[in-house]
């Protein structure tokens, strides 16, 4: 099996690479590339993302033809994709970080700043929070509700169709932290930094 971590030259993806390679051992081939042909021939892709929504989308779109390739992979071929942090946020129609920016539009909804109740809650939301699993998701196999995952973000994905939500967390309000829509998976938290349970989620994705 070939799994590609899409490297679109934005932010720091070393930890994502290390964690996937750790879980994959030598059984799964992990590629790190923006090469469209390699993406096309992969069985699964991972879309990481750090920094702002706008920067990530802009960096992604700098790669000629990548949105068509990703759309073909995810929407037409329906092969599995895992978005992490801003990678998940980019599934949305629109993001409002810095300025209004169009997303990939795979899961209808938008990405807005977390309401920190006039400074009552710190932003970014950094640290370990307990996820509440609200629907069975394949990537949560053997993961219990209330498990701790590592977060660092100031914006939240608000999907229109609440059925896609697979887990939430409590912070200044209830925040969506994981989605599953058919072959499309995303986590707002960082499985690559969430210790053994995070690695278990990566393993679940690789085993899909």
């Amino acid at each position: 099996m070939n799994v590609t971590i899409v490297d679109y030259k934005s932010g720091n993806i070393s930890s994502v690479i290390n964690s996937f390679k750790e879980v994959a051992k030598n059984k799964v081939n992990i590629e790190v590339t923006s090469d469209l042909n390699k993406i096309k021939s992969s069985d699964k892709i991972v879309l990481p993302g750090q920094g702002s929504f706008k920067n990530c989308i802009e960096a992604l779109k700098k790669i000629n033809g990548i949105t068509d390739t990703l759309n073909e992979f995810v929407i037409n071929k329906k092969k599995p994709v895992l978005g992490i942090c801003v990678g998940l946020q980019m599934f949305a129609d629109i993001g409002y970080e810095e300025t209004k920016t169009e997303g990939l539009g795979w899961i209808s909804g938008n990405v807005s700043k977390i309401d920190n109740q006039n400074g009552k809650y710190k932003l970014p939301h950094i640290g370990w929070n307990q996820i509440e699993i609200v629907k069975n998701s394949k990537i949560f196999k053997d993961i219990e509700s209330k498990s701790h995952m590592y977060f660092v973000h100031s914006y939240e994905f608000i999907p229109k169709d609440k059925d896609v939500i697979s887990a939430t967390i409590e912070y200044s309000s209830k925040i969506v932290c994981s989605v599953e829509k058919g072959n499309i998976y995303g986590t707002q938290f960082h499985p690559e930094k969430s210790d053994k349970l995070g690695l278990k989620i990566i393993e679940n994705f690789l085993k899909l």
Binding site: N12, N55, I126, E170, Y171, K193, D195, L199
Partner: protein, 251 residues
């Protein structure tokens, strides 16, 4: 619910841990990679390396350590000490650091914080503030505490938030190494001044000090070095103690 974090800090000099864990079963007591792994297996919420290497020739050792650690520890890794430029930050991140803490360079050249947070995102930019009390204020020191910038720590904290820091690592120089507890006033004043999380550092001597840093100092995370070294307390003990005092921690 978001949990308060406990962050053990390892001082690294010329590639070796200076003050480390004194466990008998350690193959190499001076190996930062092995010690970081013990902490992460023990439940540390993050690992922090502070590179105190003085000479430039040995600076490269930290990159190798970060690279090896990031392949073994799957919790966030923060690296600081001697970070001067956006290029330094880039290199540490490429080696597998998740966050980089910037101290002297943030005072001398605010553009480092502005540019790196734009380029890599605020989530990986930690500004370390070394503060010393003077009258009813605190002043920011640089160069490992040797130079007084004369800058007011509270104003500086606010400025660093505006420049794009994602977190502040606040060390009381008056308390550092004393084991009498954090400077609670400093922590709570800075925490109420900014909206970003504050990591308290400097002065921890017992587990009650960690409780105070969170309850009284309003810190989101507590960093400590010596109480975790030499096996005085384990991360697990610290967490169980905090939990018993009603502080939310990841257990």
């Amino acid at each position: 619910m978001l949990k308060n974090r406990i962050i053990p800090c390892l001082d690294v000099k010329n590639g070796r841990v200076v003050k480390g864990i004194n466990f008998v079963d350690l193959k190499d007591a001076g190996d930062p990679v092995e010690q970081a792994k013990i902490y992460s297996d023990g439940g540390a919420d993050e690992i922090c390396f502070l590179d105190i290497t003085a000479s430039n020739e040995n600076r490269d050792t930290i990159y190798d350590i970060v690279e090896k650690t990031s392949k073994k520890c799957f919790v966030p890794l923060t690296v600081g000490g001697g970070v001067r430029s956006v290029e330094d930050i880039n290199r540490l991140l490429k080696c597998g650091a998740d966050k980089v803490s910037i101290n002297t360079a943030a005072v001398e050249n605010p553009k480092v914080v502005i540019d790196s947070s734009k380029k890599f995102g605020s989530q990986c930019v930690v500004v370390a503030i070394d503060a010393k009390k003077k009258g009813d204020k605190w002043e920011v020191f640089t160069h490992g505490g040797r130079n007084n910038s004369g800058i007011d720590a509270l104003e500086y904290a606010k400025q660093m938030e505006e420049n794009g820091a994602g977190e502040l690592l606040v060390t009381s120089m008056d308390r550092d190494g004393t084991q009498v507890g954090y400077d609670i006033n400093l922590m709570s004043k800075i925490s109420s001044e900014v909206n970003i999380p504050v990591i308290a550092s400097g002065g921890v001597g017992n587990l009650d000090h960690l409780v105070d840093g969170i309850k009284l100092g309003n810190a989101s995370a507590v960093l400590a070095a010596s109480i975790f070294h030499y096996g005085k307390h384990s991360i697990k003990e610290a967490k169980e103690y905090l939990d018993s005092k009603g502080i939310p921690v990841r257990i």
